[in-house]
Protein backbone atom coordinates (compact mmCIF):
# COMPACT_ATOMS: atom_id res chain seq x y z
CA UNK A 1 0.00 0.00 0.00
CA UNK A 2 1.53 3.36 -0.97
CA UNK A 3 2.26 5.90 1.75
CA UNK A 4 -0.25 8.73 1.87
CA UNK A 5 1.22 12.25 1.96
CA UNK A 6 -1.19 13.16 4.78
CA UNK A 7 -2.46 11.36 7.82
CA UNK A 8 -5.99 9.99 7.67
CA UNK A 9 -8.26 10.99 10.54
CA UNK A 10 -9.01 8.06 12.86
CA UNK A 11 -12.06 6.03 11.95
CA UNK A 12 -15.12 6.77 14.07
CA UNK A 13 -15.87 4.17 16.69
CA UNK A 14 -19.25 2.43 16.98
CA UNK A 15 -20.11 4.65 19.93
CA UNK A 16 -19.43 7.77 17.91
CA UNK A 17 -21.55 6.58 14.98
CA UNK A 18 -24.44 5.78 17.34
CA UNK A 19 -24.04 9.13 19.07
CA UNK A 20 -24.16 11.02 15.77
CA UNK A 21 -27.30 9.17 14.66
CA UNK A 22 -29.02 9.91 17.98
CA UNK A 23 -27.87 13.53 17.82
CA UNK A 24 -29.33 13.94 14.32
CA UNK A 25 -32.64 12.49 15.57
CA UNK A 26 -32.64 14.93 18.50
CA UNK A 27 -31.80 17.91 16.31
CA UNK A 28 -34.55 17.04 13.83
CA UNK A 29 -37.06 16.67 16.66
CA UNK A 30 -36.06 20.03 18.13
CA UNK A 31 -36.35 21.69 14.70
CA UNK A 32 -39.86 20.26 14.22
CA UNK A 33 -40.85 21.62 17.65
CA UNK A 34 -39.66 25.07 16.68
CA UNK A 35 -40.80 25.31 13.06
CA UNK A 36 -43.97 23.20 12.66
CA UNK A 37 -47.12 25.18 11.87
CA UNK A 38 -49.38 22.53 13.33
CA UNK A 39 -49.01 22.39 17.10
CA UNK A 40 -49.65 18.66 17.10
CA UNK A 41 -46.62 18.09 14.87
CA UNK A 42 -44.64 20.14 17.38
CA UNK A 43 -45.71 17.75 20.13
CA UNK A 44 -44.61 14.75 18.04
CA UNK A 45 -41.24 16.42 17.40
CA UNK A 46 -40.95 16.98 21.13
CA UNK A 47 -41.42 13.24 21.75
CA UNK A 48 -38.66 12.54 19.19
CA UNK A 49 -36.32 15.00 20.87
CA UNK A 50 -37.05 13.46 24.30
CA UNK A 51 -36.26 9.98 22.95
CA UNK A 52 -33.05 11.32 21.43
CA UNK A 53 -32.01 12.83 24.75
CA UNK A 54 -32.70 9.49 26.45
CA UNK A 55 -30.44 7.85 23.87
CA UNK A 56 -27.73 10.38 24.61
CA UNK A 57 -27.92 9.52 28.32
CA UNK A 58 -27.60 5.82 27.53
CA UNK A 59 -24.56 6.47 25.32
CA UNK A 60 -23.05 8.40 28.24
CA UNK A 61 -23.64 5.32 30.44
CA UNK A 62 -26.28 6.97 32.61
CA UNK A 63 -28.90 4.28 32.06
CA UNK A 64 -31.06 5.16 35.04
CA UNK A 65 -31.44 8.76 33.85
CA UNK A 66 -32.32 7.45 30.39
CA UNK A 67 -35.09 5.26 31.80
CA UNK A 68 -36.34 8.13 33.97
CA UNK A 69 -36.35 10.36 30.90
CA UNK A 70 -38.51 7.90 28.97
CA UNK A 71 -40.88 7.42 31.92
CA UNK A 72 -41.29 11.07 32.93
CA UNK A 73 -40.81 13.04 29.72
CA UNK A 74 -42.04 10.67 27.01
CA UNK A 75 -44.64 9.02 29.20
CA UNK A 76 -46.06 11.81 31.32
CA UNK A 77 -45.08 15.24 30.04
CA UNK A 78 -45.81 14.49 26.37
CA UNK A 79 -49.22 13.12 27.32
CA UNK A 80 -49.98 16.22 29.38
CA UNK A 81 -48.95 18.50 26.51
CA UNK A 82 -51.05 16.53 24.03
CA UNK A 83 -54.06 16.82 26.34
CA UNK A 84 -53.52 20.56 26.71
CA UNK A 85 -53.34 20.97 22.92
CA UNK A 86 -56.60 19.10 22.48
CA UNK A 87 -58.31 21.05 25.30
CA UNK A 88 -57.32 24.40 23.78
CA UNK A 89 -58.41 23.45 20.28
CA UNK A 90 -58.85 26.02 17.56
CA UNK A 91 -55.31 27.28 17.98
CA UNK A 92 -54.06 23.98 16.58
CA UNK A 93 -54.31 24.71 12.87
CA UNK A 94 -53.50 28.37 12.84
CA UNK A 95 -54.53 30.28 9.76
CA UNK A 96 -52.09 32.83 11.15
CA UNK A 97 -48.36 32.47 11.46
CA UNK A 98 -47.07 30.20 14.24
CA UNK A 99 -44.59 32.89 15.25
CA UNK A 100 -45.33 36.04 17.20
CA UNK A 101 -44.41 39.64 16.46
CA UNK A 102 -40.94 39.55 18.00
CA UNK A 103 -39.89 36.30 16.30
CA UNK A 104 -37.39 38.00 13.96
CA UNK A 105 -35.45 39.49 16.87
CA UNK A 106 -35.80 36.24 18.77
CA UNK A 107 -34.33 34.28 15.84
CA UNK A 108 -31.35 36.64 15.60
CA UNK A 109 -30.65 36.47 19.34
CA UNK A 110 -31.01 32.68 19.34
CA UNK A 111 -28.63 32.18 16.41
CA UNK A 112 -26.11 34.52 18.05
CA UNK A 113 -26.31 32.61 21.34
CA UNK A 114 -25.82 29.31 19.50
CA UNK A 115 -22.75 30.66 17.66
CA UNK A 116 -21.25 32.07 20.86
CA UNK A 117 -21.84 28.81 22.75
CA UNK A 118 -20.32 26.73 19.92
CA UNK A 119 -17.26 28.98 19.71
CA UNK A 120 -16.87 28.86 23.48
CA UNK A 121 -17.14 25.07 23.55
CA UNK A 122 -14.63 24.76 20.73
CA UNK A 123 -12.14 27.13 22.36
CA UNK A 124 -11.73 25.15 25.58
CA UNK A 125 -9.55 22.01 25.64
CA UNK A 126 -11.95 19.51 27.20
CA UNK A 127 -10.79 16.06 28.27
CA UNK A 128 -11.16 13.67 25.34
CA UNK A 129 -12.23 10.61 27.32
CA UNK A 130 -13.73 10.06 30.74
CA UNK A 131 -12.56 7.42 33.16
CA UNK A 132 -13.95 4.02 32.21
CA UNK A 133 -16.80 2.64 34.27
CA UNK A 134 -15.96 -0.92 35.23
CA UNK A 135 -18.67 -3.52 34.98
CA UNK A 136 -20.10 -4.29 38.39
CA UNK A 137 -19.77 -0.78 39.79
CA UNK A 138 -23.30 -0.31 41.05
CA UNK A 139 -24.19 3.22 39.98
CA UNK A 140 -27.92 2.87 40.64
CA UNK A 141 -27.20 1.60 44.16
CA UNK A 142 -24.94 4.61 44.68
CA UNK A 143 -27.73 6.90 43.51
CA UNK A 144 -30.15 5.33 45.95
CA UNK A 145 -27.67 5.67 48.82
CA UNK A 146 -27.07 9.34 47.97
CA UNK A 147 -30.78 10.04 48.07
CA UNK A 148 -31.12 8.72 51.61
CA UNK A 149 -27.84 10.13 52.94
CA UNK A 150 -26.45 13.49 51.86
CA UNK A 151 -29.38 14.46 49.60
CA UNK A 152 -32.19 13.43 51.94
CA UNK A 153 -33.44 16.97 52.64
CA UNK A 154 -33.60 18.05 48.96
CA UNK A 155 -35.27 14.72 48.20
CA UNK A 156 -38.02 15.31 50.77
CA UNK A 157 -38.43 18.91 49.57
CA UNK A 158 -38.83 17.58 46.05
CA UNK A 159 -41.60 15.26 47.20
CA UNK A 160 -43.27 18.25 48.86
CA UNK A 161 -42.88 20.30 45.65
CA UNK A 162 -44.53 17.58 43.59
CA UNK A 163 -47.44 17.40 46.05
CA UNK A 164 -47.89 21.19 45.97
CA UNK A 165 -47.69 21.23 42.16
CA UNK A 166 -50.33 18.48 41.99
CA UNK A 167 -52.71 20.37 44.26
CA UNK A 168 -51.97 23.68 42.52
CA UNK A 169 -52.60 22.25 39.05
CA UNK A 170 -55.96 20.84 40.17
CA UNK A 171 -56.99 24.15 41.76
CA UNK A 172 -55.93 26.16 38.70
CA UNK A 173 -57.55 23.97 36.07
CA UNK A 174 -60.75 23.30 38.06
CA UNK A 175 -64.05 24.60 36.71
CA UNK A 176 -65.28 27.21 39.20
CA UNK A 177 -69.02 26.71 38.85
Amino acid sequence: MPELPFELPPLPTIQQVIFVMIAILTVLGALVVVLARNLFHSALGLVTAFFGAAGVYVVAEAEFIGVSQVLVYVGAISTLITFAIMLTRGMMFGATSPRNRQSGTAAMITILIFLVLTALVGAIPWPQAGEPIVEGQAIIAGLGRSFVNEYVVPFQLLAMLLLVALAGAIVLARDRK
Binding site: Q15, Q16, F19, V20, A23, T26, V27, A30, V33, V34, S42, A43, L46, A49, V56, Y57, A60, A62, F64, I65, S68, Q69, V72, Y73, I77, I81, F83, A84, L87, T88, M91, G94, T96, P98, R99, N100, S103, T110, I113, F114, V121, G122, W126, Q128, A129, G130, E131, I133, I139, L143, S146, L158, L161, L162, V164, A165, G168, I170, L172, A173
Partner: protein
Amino acid sequence: MVPLTWYLILAAFVFSAGLFAALGRRNAIAVLMGIELMLNAANINLIAFWRYGPSPAQNLDGQIFALFVIAVAAAEVAVGLALVISVYRNRRTVNLDDLDLLKG
Protein backbone atom coordinates in the same frame (compact mmCIF):
# COMPACT_ATOMS: atom_id res chain seq x y z
CA MET B 1 -15.30 7.36 23.21
CA VAL B 2 -17.43 10.30 22.10
CA PRO B 3 -15.62 13.63 22.61
CA LEU B 4 -17.16 15.85 25.26
CA THR B 5 -17.40 18.66 22.69
CA TRP B 6 -20.05 16.78 20.72
CA TYR B 7 -22.32 16.53 23.75
CA LEU B 8 -21.88 20.23 24.45
CA ILE B 9 -22.61 21.29 20.86
CA LEU B 10 -25.73 19.09 20.77
CA ALA B 11 -26.88 20.62 24.06
CA ALA B 12 -26.15 24.13 22.74
CA PHE B 13 -28.30 23.45 19.68
CA VAL B 14 -31.20 22.01 21.69
CA PHE B 15 -30.99 24.96 24.09
CA SER B 16 -31.04 27.47 21.22
CA ALA B 17 -34.04 25.75 19.63
CA GLY B 18 -35.86 25.82 22.95
CA LEU B 19 -34.98 29.48 23.47
CA PHE B 20 -36.38 30.37 20.05
CA ALA B 21 -39.57 28.43 20.79
CA ALA B 22 -39.91 30.25 24.12
CA LEU B 23 -39.29 33.71 22.64
CA GLY B 24 -40.72 33.51 19.16
CA ARG B 25 -43.71 31.15 19.12
CA ARG B 26 -47.22 32.54 19.29
CA ASN B 27 -48.89 29.67 21.13
CA ALA B 28 -48.46 29.38 24.92
CA ILE B 29 -48.16 25.58 24.73
CA ALA B 30 -45.35 25.90 22.18
CA VAL B 31 -43.57 28.20 24.64
CA LEU B 32 -43.87 25.50 27.32
CA MET B 33 -42.44 22.97 24.87
CA GLY B 34 -39.47 25.28 24.34
CA ILE B 35 -38.89 25.44 28.09
CA GLU B 36 -38.89 21.64 28.22
CA LEU B 37 -36.29 21.55 25.43
CA MET B 38 -34.05 23.96 27.35
CA LEU B 39 -34.30 21.83 30.51
CA ASN B 40 -33.35 18.79 28.42
CA ALA B 41 -30.30 20.61 27.08
CA ALA B 42 -29.22 21.39 30.64
CA ASN B 43 -29.65 17.72 31.51
CA ILE B 44 -27.49 16.61 28.56
CA ASN B 45 -24.75 18.94 29.82
CA LEU B 46 -25.07 17.65 33.40
CA ILE B 47 -24.77 14.03 32.27
CA ALA B 48 -21.86 14.77 29.93
CA PHE B 49 -19.89 16.60 32.62
CA TRP B 50 -20.66 13.83 35.12
CA ARG B 51 -19.28 11.23 32.69
CA TYR B 52 -16.10 13.18 31.93
CA GLY B 53 -15.49 14.37 35.47
CA PRO B 54 -13.23 12.74 38.06
CA SER B 55 -14.23 9.17 39.13
CA PRO B 56 -17.77 9.09 37.70
CA ALA B 57 -18.64 5.81 39.42
CA GLN B 58 -18.22 7.28 42.91
CA ASN B 59 -19.05 10.93 42.22
CA LEU B 60 -22.73 10.80 41.24
CA ASP B 61 -23.70 14.45 41.80
CA GLY B 62 -24.29 15.11 38.08
CA GLN B 63 -26.81 12.28 37.80
CA ILE B 64 -28.58 13.38 40.99
CA PHE B 65 -28.89 16.93 39.67
CA ALA B 66 -30.31 15.57 36.40
CA LEU B 67 -32.92 13.59 38.35
CA PHE B 68 -33.88 16.70 40.32
CA VAL B 69 -34.22 18.64 37.06
CA ILE B 70 -36.51 15.94 35.63
CA ALA B 71 -38.76 16.01 38.71
CA VAL B 72 -38.93 19.80 38.82
CA ALA B 73 -39.72 19.87 35.08
CA ALA B 74 -42.63 17.51 35.70
CA ALA B 75 -44.01 19.83 38.39
CA GLU B 76 -43.43 22.88 36.21
CA VAL B 77 -45.23 21.48 33.18
CA ALA B 78 -48.22 20.40 35.27
CA VAL B 79 -48.68 23.88 36.73
CA GLY B 80 -47.89 25.58 33.42
CA LEU B 81 -50.46 23.59 31.47
CA ALA B 82 -53.06 24.18 34.21
CA LEU B 83 -52.39 27.92 33.82
CA VAL B 84 -52.77 27.66 30.03
CA ILE B 85 -56.10 25.84 30.39
CA SER B 86 -57.29 28.39 32.94
CA VAL B 87 -56.34 31.28 30.66
CA TYR B 88 -58.06 29.57 27.73
CA ARG B 89 -61.24 29.17 29.76
CA ASN B 90 -61.29 32.86 30.69
CA ARG B 91 -60.06 34.48 27.48
CA ARG B 92 -60.87 31.85 24.81
CA THR B 93 -57.35 32.12 23.39
CA VAL B 94 -53.83 30.94 24.11
CA ASN B 95 -52.33 33.34 21.58
CA LEU B 96 -49.61 35.22 23.43
CA ASP B 97 -49.98 38.32 21.23
CA ASP B 98 -53.55 38.73 22.53
CA LEU B 99 -52.73 38.21 26.21
CA ASP B 100 -51.70 41.76 27.09
CA LEU B 101 -53.84 42.49 30.17
CA LEU B 102 -50.80 43.67 32.15
CA LYS B 103 -49.59 45.98 29.40
CA GLY B 104 -49.67 49.63 30.49
